[in-house]
Symmetry: C2
């Protein structure tokens, strides 16, 4: 019985996600679902990206259990921000995104970041209508986190490793992390960067631009 | 229908948790459920605690989606370690703990750490049979995380803030974090510490010892 109910919920979610994706594509919006642990640096990554690409019209849907602190941070860089508070729900679903879309002018947006609830596990299984999922890991979280969280690594089109500026202060063996990612998802590029110092940001921005252009041209509709 | 199923699952979990707790108490085992984000420093905290209290007979149940890296780390300090791999399940349930208990000699253990799956959200709602939950936050995760994760703060008997050795390298306003904790849970002590340098560890050990003694004497059966 439990399985049946869960399956129904997932099917309804996937159907709504497909509707979301159709709307995004008609409006020419490229959508990235950022998934990472609390404090992995998702918001800092978005801030740095928005700042570095002033010609791109960004939108952000920020998911959190509580507070609108992330939306307040991002509102400095774009007017197209919606905060979703999920209460006790540990992930965003297509219905949350649908709700947020009502507060966004899709025609005024080129690239939409969905900052998922801080959680490396539960958000992985839910299609939101995005074109790609990007897994965000951080140096201070330790070099074992890709191996410990295989599902997000496998589902990601790219992996971002943040906080490389803190590398001198912690015991993080970057090769261990990179090897684990490669084993789980050989085709995913890894962008090791610091949103604070700007180190490594360029490759991430270039990947984002190329991925966006591909979707605009109708290649790899879902990366 | 969905709610009914979830309620049944939770009721079954609570019943099994009560049985676990009864067994722990008969054997005189004090049980702490550590809940924190991936990379918040739960394993490092347990390692430092085991090392600092050589007279206490520790046991550890380590929960992760995948790998037995945590159990391997802890096995250096105690023989009473069981790793639980949950697959895609985002939290431990009483049944996982029950299963792990079969591999532990409770009579040879004074204090059992249950290191929950790295996740600040889902583990909060599940009673495992522990005497207290301790929320683990980390400096590199940012000073907004208590406010963003109110449920774990409210349910915790104590809060640990790790990585204080990294405070000089990141923008973490400790007072903001402390104020948020105080608003949500005025009675929970906060232990700001570094398992790496040992800073602040003493107060945490003392609290742990006092809490354990209280339960041994039958005070505050569930903190």
């Amino acid at each position: 019985m439990k399985v049946q109910v869960v399956e129904n919920v997932l099917r309804a979610n996937d159907e709504l996600a497909a509707i979301n994706r159709g709307d995004f594509e008609r409006a020419g919006v490229f959508v990235v679902d950022l998934i990472g642990a609390p404090g992995s640096g998702k918001t800092a990554l978005i801030e740095a990206t928005l700042k570095a690409m002033p010609d791109v019209r960004f939108g952000v849907i920020a998911g959190d259990l509580a507070t609108q602190r992330d939306a307040d941070r991002m509102a400095k860089f774009t007017n197209h921000v919606v905060q979703i508070n999920t209460g006790k729900t540990c992930h965003l679903e297509a219905s949350h995104v649908r709700q947020a879309m009502a507060g966004l002018s899709l025609d005024a947006i080129d690239l939409l970041f969905i900052e998922n609830v801080g959680n490396l596990i539960c958000p992985v299984g839910f299609d939101l209508g995005q074109h790609c999922k990007v897994g965000v890991f951080n140096v201070c979280g330790g070099d074992d986190k890709a191996a410990k969280h295989p599902y997000i690594v496998r589902e990601s089109s790219a992996i971002v490793l943040t906080q490389v500026d803190l590398m001198p202060h912690v015991n993080f063996r970057q090769q261990v992390f990179l090897d684990d990612v490669k084993t789980l998802n050989p085709s995913a590029p890894v962008f090791a960067l610091s949103p604070i110092t700007g180190t490594g940001l360029e490759s991430w921005l270039k990947w984002l631009e190329t991925a966006r252009a591909g979707v605009r041209r109708g290649e790899g509709r879902k990366l």
